[in-house]
């Protein structure tokens, strides 16, 4: 098979995996292992990293079944930060090939006898014996760290080791700091709930603060990596950043703003990604636009609070805010237009149109939950209010025609259908209590 054929085969497989009807975490363990192995092999293919990130919790859980090698033990303090990109993302995340390069260097330059001792010790442990593996890791980290500290202390040597990856010098320094803080990081990971962490108790925040302050002993690089390790596990990273940096972490007053600024890069990446996601959303998908706009606005509000002292970040966030406002204004206008047009047609519209009307109302209601944060609350409430008003008017006219004695009486089934439609519209745009009033009014009119 030629390389080209192989590549075509791989692409086909990736496409098949992407097209899987049942997401990967729902397939059997055996199949999952097979697919995971394949994906690891073709991880540089577009889209594969996204899948691997998505199924990582399951990969992690399945890992105890395998006996780790020394390289895997070496990776433990930094595994939460690994990404598949090859360039520096400049936000604290680490391109996956870099630690592989660093490990190769350590294995070559480190004392062969000590390395052999670690390997022998690891061989003697049982497959699932995590405690024994950890004990070896706790001896391995300081040994590897010493070699690395020695390397990074000489910029020329460090650049030489990196070769064509010389752009990753900051990341190399970060790996060195991570290894120096490895024991504290391990302690933090042991004590924290699994990812994503939605919130932390005061006791947990206290534990994090103590572990960082005691472990880093005022070293800015170590404080940075330890906060970063917790931050990547949090669902609301900006909120965590603001809270933890408000605590005493043993940093000097000169170091504190520098560490804060380094950490804020990850918050900015996250908000920028959300902005990109919003602009990539199909303009006809009002519910998707509202969901993604809410996601962005929530991220923006938290980031603005956390980064209020960073003028450059503030400027970038303000630009993104304008985009969010513009998108939400369009969603509100389009949704209102669709619903108003639907009111004149009523329940006789085709199923697709009825669904589109409901989705437009749902989009408006989603926008209502965050419109206040971007100054559009009046616009959204006004749109919903006018819809409720128009539907009510239509319903009252209908009930009056039923109550009117003499002349042509409308068909009962049709009136019922119109009534239920008005009830539904009022509930979606307003609330169930007002909607139920229309239902009772209608039932009374129908007798």
């Amino acid at each position: 098979m030629s390389d080209l054929d192989k590549k075509a085969g791989v692409n086909k497989t990736v496409a098949a995996v992407l097209d899987l009807e049942r997401p990967l975490e729902f397939i059997s363990e055996e199949k999952f292992r097979e697919v995971a192995k394949l994906l690891e092999e073709v991880h540089e293919q577009p889209g594969v990293q996204q899948i691997l990130d998505h199924v990582r919790p399951r990969l992690v859980k399945l890992r105890p079944g395998r006996k780790p090698n020394l390289q895997r033990l070496f990776y433990m303090p930094l595994e939460d930060l690994l990404i598949f990109e090859t360039m520096s993302p400049d936000n604290g995340m680490l391109p996956r090939h870099l630690p592989a390069l660093v490990w190769k260097y350590i294995a070559e330059r480190g004392d062969a006898e000590t390395l052999k001792q670690f390997e022998t010790a690891l061989k003697r442990t049982g497959t699932g014996d995590r405690e024994a593996h950890k004990k070896i890791a706790h001896r391995l980290w300081p040994w590897a760290s010493a070699i690395l500290v020695n390397l990074v202390s000489n910029t020329g040597n460090a650049k030489g080791m990196l070769g064509r990856d010389v752009g990753l010098i900051e990341e190399l320094n970060q790996i060195s700091a991570l290894l120096q803080a490895a024991e504290s990081i391990d302690l933090l990971k042991e004590e924290l709930p699994p990812k994503p962490i939605r919130s932390l108790t005061d006791e947990q925040m206290g534990m994090i603060r103590r572990t960082i302050a005691d472990g880093a002993k005022g070293d800015a690089d170590q404080v940075y990596v330890m906060v970063l390790i917790v931050m990547v596990r949090m669902a609301k990273r900006a909120d965590f950043l603001e809270n933890i940096m408000g605590m005493t972490l043993g940093l000097s007053s000169a170091d504190k703003p520098v560490v804060y600024a380094r950490l804020s890069r990850l918050v900015m990446t996250e908000v920028t990604d959300r902005a990109k996601q919003l602009s990539a959303t199909d303009k006809g998908n009002l519910v998707g636009l509202a969901d993604n706009a809410r996601n962005l606005v929530n991220g923006l509000v938290a980031a603005e609070k956390a980064l209020k002292n960073d003028p450059r970040a503030r400027h970038q966030l303000s630009e993104m805010r304008k985009t969010a406002e513009k998108t939400v204004t369009q969603v509100v206008d389009n949704a209102k237009g669709t619903v108003v047009a639907a009111i004149s047609v009523g329940p006789d519209a085709p199923l697709e149109s009825l669904i589109e009307t409901e989705n437009s109302l749902l989009a408006l209601r989603k926008c209502q939950t965050f419109a206040g944060q971007i100054g559009l609350d009046k616009s959204v409430t006004g749109a919903l209010g006018s819809i409720v008003g128009e539907v009510k008017q239509k319903a009252e006219k209908l009930f009056a025609s039923v109550s009117h004695k003499g002349g042509h009486q409308p068909d009962r089934a049709e009136v019922e259908q119109e009534m239920y439609w008005a009830v539904r519209m009022t509930e979606l745009a307003g609330n169930p209590d007002d909607a139920d009033k229309i239902r009772r009014q209608g039932m009374k009119a129908l007798g």
């Binding site: 859980k61 709930p193 994503p196 329940p347 749902l362 259908q417 539904r424 509930e427 169930p432």
Partner: protein
């Protein structure tokens, strides 16, 4: 009191029938008759126990936050006295068809009603063929005739008259018994004709659910993993019981001639067995669809989903299962040890249009 008897109802009827409400707080609440109140609603617990709040029917709407669909369903259940899964299905369809749970749920209800009707007709034909075969007649010619034609009707009538004479009963009795049996067996399907039907297909979905949630539980790192594995065990127990019930029912109606001939004893027996199956599987379709809806959600949403799902898991009543004391104890301990919290949004008494909309979508799929 034994630990496993603390919260489990003793019979299916005591467990109540699952009502297709769309407001999160009421989703899959159960309804049962009550001597004093007429009807009561069993509202799943929100705390760390597996019990349920018993709410008098007249007080249900006072709890608040109910969608108009649920208010109409609440009224319809009382009017129809819908206290069995089949009656609840009919009441649910009637209200869903108004459109109060959205156009998709309305269309799904309309289609499901149509499918149910077609299935009864199909079962009716299959039963006639099975009866004639059982009477030793060849049905080759009938199989080649369109059942909607007069030709079919004339031919079958002649053949059924022959059977009636043989059985010593009137032909009208045969028609009546076949008619009743068709309605009884339509949701279950006729094994002798390899006929697929709603409840038999549900077993397939339940098997997939058991596999999927068990593997999720094995893979998840949070405390919800134990609950997921427990849900898989309940599904497993349900599958075992359903398998046994299906085998008994299939054997009981294997000879349609015998069932029709000895209708006074065989008819009620078939109805009883089909009804038990319907009770056993009541509520599972919603649980399965709820789980499916989480498949492409982030892991924290899935964990919340497991919490919500645990609240409405159709546990098998004490006297209906063969669960031993040890299993019951284990289940009780799980709920005691872990504080199971339904996601905060599902506990609120406030109407939440987004959550209601999600449940409406699940509901529409659950009747399909």
């Amino acid at each position: 009191m034994k630990p496993n008897s603390l919260y489990l109802p003793s019979t299916f009827e005591e467990r109540g029938t699952a009502a297709p409400f769309t407001t999160p707080m009421f989703a899959l609440s159960r309804v049962r008759p009550d001597e004093r109140q007429g009807l009561v609603l069993l509202l799943p617990s929100f705390g760390g126990t597996d019990g349920a709040y018993v709410v008098p029917w007249s007080a249900v709407q006072e709890i608040g936050g109910m969608s108009t669909h649920d208010r109409a369903l609440h009224e319809e259940i009382l009017a129809a006295k819908a206290t069995s899964p089949d009656m609840m299905r009919a009441a649910g369809f009637k209200v869903a068809m108004t459109g109060l749970a959205g156009p998709v749920a309305a269309a799904a209800a309309k289609k499901a009603m149509e499918d149910d009707r077609k299935k009864i007709e199909e079962t009716h034909i299959l039963l006639i063929l099975a009866l004639l075969t059982s009477s030793g007649m060849t049905t080759q010619e009938l199989m080649q005739t369109n059942p909607e034609t007069d030709e079919w009707r004339v031919k079958t009538k002649a053949m059924l008259e022959k059977s009636a004479r043989e059985y010593g009963i009137e032909i009208d009795q045969i028609y009546h018994r076949i008619g009743e049996l068709s309605e009884t067996l339509a949701p279950v399907g006729l094994a002798i004709s390899r006929q697929e039907a709603r409840l038999r297909q549900l077993l397939q979905s339940l098997g997939e659910f058991r596999q999927s949630i068990s593997e999720w539980g094995e893979a998840d790192l949070s405390e919800m993993a134990d609950f997921a594995i427990y849900a898989a065990a309940v599904a497993d127990l349900t599958l075992d019981m359903a398998g046994t019930m299906f085998r008994k029912l299939d054997a009981g109606v294997a000879d349609i001639g015998l069932v029709v001939r000895e209708w006074p004893t065989q008819g009620p027996l078939a109805k009883h067995m089909a009804s038990r199956l319907s009770w056993l599987l009541d509520g599972w379709q919603f649980v399965i669809e709820l789980w499916r809806s989480l498949a492409d959600q982030p892991v924290d949403e899935q964990r919340d989903g497991v919490g919500n799902l645990m609240r409405v898991l159709p546990l098998i009543p004490r006297n209906e299962s063969e669960e031993d004391e040890e299993d019951g104890k284990k289940r009780h301990e799980l709920f005691q040890r872990k504080r199971l919290q339904a996601h905060i949004d599902w506990r609120t008494g406030k109407y939440d249009v987004e959550l209601v909309s999600r449940i409406e979508q699940i509901k529409a799929k659950a009747v399909a």
